[in-house]
């Protein structure tokens, strides 16, 4: 059954590269409108999943409908309505900023005279109007990212896929990009985004799926995930003696984790914990509400990934 309120509906999606499984049978249902976040450590299978959505890599198993059409058979038709901001910029270095948009439009079969105005508007949207004639090699990382976003919008797509759109950018550019993404969301476009920044996911996404080792291990709205997977409060303690660790662990409704010198106390009894900590003069602590990063680390562990 085809569901027209979904932009992506996948069941049992699988991908292996010469025997090594990258995506192990995931189900995806991404509704029209809003922002869907795909989170996970490096190598979790996020980019591979997005590549299958675009028909840029063969599916090893499962079924997928994108915009109501079967993949990968309908990949060309599907891509005509998609915008893509890739993880690594692949702007065309042989052209200027404006030419990049016009040449890219031609890949969609759009004619220059029909997109010239739109290209100028998009440059204004990402604040690159004064760079229209600059060559790609002379742009900073942030400018390239903004141009990639403008390029992804040249075909007025229904769905925008952003693979780590703000990785490596300074706070000014990140805030500008977040702002633009929110305005695209308001315009009714569907955003699908991968990121390593939990703060970014919390700010932008309406719905999140956390992936690890090729599987989706948790799914829901950011607040739901925090409520469902973490105690409401976190207290980070520096320089805590072992006795204190036991004392905090003994409090009802919580757990304690030690990472090097830092003690992380996840708790439902923040008041009692603070009452213990406050009189102690030889330690410093920080009391904050639980966030998505706490959920992420709880679910995917603290081990480093390649």
């Amino acid at each position: 059954m085809q569901n027209t309120s979904l932009v992506i509906e996948a069941t049992g999606l699988e991908k292996s590269f010469s025997g090594r499984a990258a995506v192990c049978g995931i189900d995806l249902r991404i509704p029209k409108g809003g922002c869907f976040g795909l989170l996970g450590p490096n190598g979790a299978g996020k980019t591979t999943t997005l590549r299958m959505v675009l028909g840029q890599c063969h599916m090893s198993g499962g079924q997928m409908q994108v915009l109501g059409q079967s993949m990968p058979a309908a990949k060309k038709a599907v891509r005509a309505h998609m915008g893509v901001v890739p993880q690594l910029d692949n702007l065309d270095p042989d052209f200027t900023v404006l030419e990049n948009l016009l040449v890219y439009a031609a890949y969609f079969g759009l004619r220059r005279r029909d997109v010239e105005k739109r290209a100028q508007d998009l440059l204004a949207f990402v604040e690159l109007s004064d760079r229209a004639r600059t060559r790609i090699g002379e742009l900073s990382g942030g400018m390239k990212r903004r141009l990639s976003i403008a390029r992804s919008l040249i075909n007025d797509p229904e769905v925008l896929i952003l693979d780590e759109p703000t990785t490596g950018l300074d706070p000014q550019v990140r805030h500008l990009i977040w702002n633009r993404l929110r305005s695209l969301k308001r315009d009714g476009k569907t955003l699908i985004l991968t990121t390593h920044y939990m703060e970014e996911a919390e700010r932008l996404c309406d719905h999140i799926a956390i992936m690890d080792h090729g599987r989706i291990i948790a799914e829901g709205a950011p607040r739901e995930l925090i409520r469902g997977y973490s105690e409401p409060d976190v207290i980070e303690v520096q320089g805590a003696p072992a006795a204190l660790e036991q004392q905090l662990a003994a409090l009802a409704g919580g757990r304690v984790e030690r990472i090097g010198e830092t003690l992380y106390c996840y708790t439902r009894a923040a008041r009692s914990a603070v009452a213990i900590l406050e009189p102690m003069s030889d330690i410093t602590y920080l009391h904050r509400p639980a966030n998505l990063e706490d959920v992420f680390l709880k679910l995917t562990g603290r081990d480093m990934r390649e």
């Binding site: 699988e14 292996s16 590269f17 010469s18 025997g19 499984a21 675009l54 840029q56 890599c57 063969h58 090893s60 198993g61 990949k75 060309k76 038709a77 891509r79 005509a80 998609m82 893509v84 890739p86 690594l88 692949n90 702007l91 065309d92 270095p93 042989d94 052209f95 030419e99 040449v103 890219y104 031609a106 890949y107 969609f108 079969g109 992804s152 075909n155």
Partner: protein, 268 residues
């Protein structure tokens, strides 16, 4: 898992179905070329002028006539074929590899309705166009020098394009399986240069030993020369259809294998 591997392979081997978007790929390369028109044309016209003046007149004085042509005419009509081969080959190696690997131009295209089939067709047409441009420049130089004359040499233009297509496919295949630019040395030194030297550009293949002749007559450049030289000199080529068929067959096979191997590289 094995099942997955077989599926993957068969998907790559399916028959190419390129669409009109191939023209957008061709046009992208044309727009870049147009930006560098000056140096490109200087190269296209300057090189053959030097060759024809230096070798044609210089060597021609000692050689006299070859197969009823002055040596400069013989050389010029041979270079018409080899220039399409060389230009198309180098575009299909260095430029295509640059767009495929370091620049990731194709990855950008694959987010649009352009697919691998279209990229390969567009690139092959572009390689052939560059071959056509370089051979046409030689044709103009040769006409200017009076090495060839009349209007019939213009009939060569489609043959230049076909020769370019014929060599574009194998060059794309080599690009698709190369891990770096260095790998191209095998193909250029072992395949292209021998054809250039032995394929009848500088002297008739009838001067080669019999065994070598039958080997050389299977090579595409030999057919390109056998097609283009008479056309440029004002004759009807013997076995016209055979030469066209051989070049077209190389072009079609090259296209197919280039599509399969570039799918394997980009789509996985």
């Amino acid at each position: 898992m094995n099942h997955g591997l077989i599926l993957l392979r068969s998907a790559n081997w399916s028959l190419p179905r390129p669409a009109w978007t191939a023209l957008a790929v061709w046009r992208r390369n044309f727009l870049v070329w147009r930006k560098l028109l000056g140096p490109s044309l200087l190269f296209n016209f300057g090189e053959p002028l030097l060759y024809l003046l230096g070798l044609g007149y210089g060597l021609g004085r000692f050689i006299g006539e070859v197969e009823g042509l002055t040596y400069i005419a013989f050389l010029a009509t041979g270079l018409l074929a080899s220039s399409s081969m060389n230009t198309s080959t180098f575009e299909g190696l260095y430029s295509v590899y640059t767009r495929m690997v370091p620049q990731q131009t194709y990855d950008g295209m694959l987010a649009t309705p352009v697919d691998v089939d279209d990229i390969v067709l567009g690139e092959m047409m572009w390689c052939a166009t560059k071959g056509l441009i370089s051979s046409t420049a030689i044709l103009i130089v040769a006409l200017g020098l009076g090495a060839i004359e009349g209007w019939q040499p213009l009939l060569c233009l489609p043959a230049f394009f076909l020769t370019g297509l014929c060599f574009a496919g194998p060059a794309l295949v080599v690009s698709a399986i190369s891990r770096s630019y260095d790998f191209f040395a095998y193909y250029v030194t072992l395949v292209i240069t021998p054809m250039y030297i032995f394929g009848g550009v500088f002297y008739p293949i009838t001067t080669l030993p019999d065994a070598a002749q039958s080997l050389v007559s299977m090579l595409p450049l030999t057919h390109a020369v056998a097609l283009i030289r008479p056309l440029a000199a004002g004759h009807i080529p013997a076995e016209f259809a055979l030469h066209v068929a051989v070049l077209a067959a190389y072009a079609l096979l090259g296209f197919y294998f280039a599509v399969v191997l570039i799918r394997r590289r980009l789509i996985q």
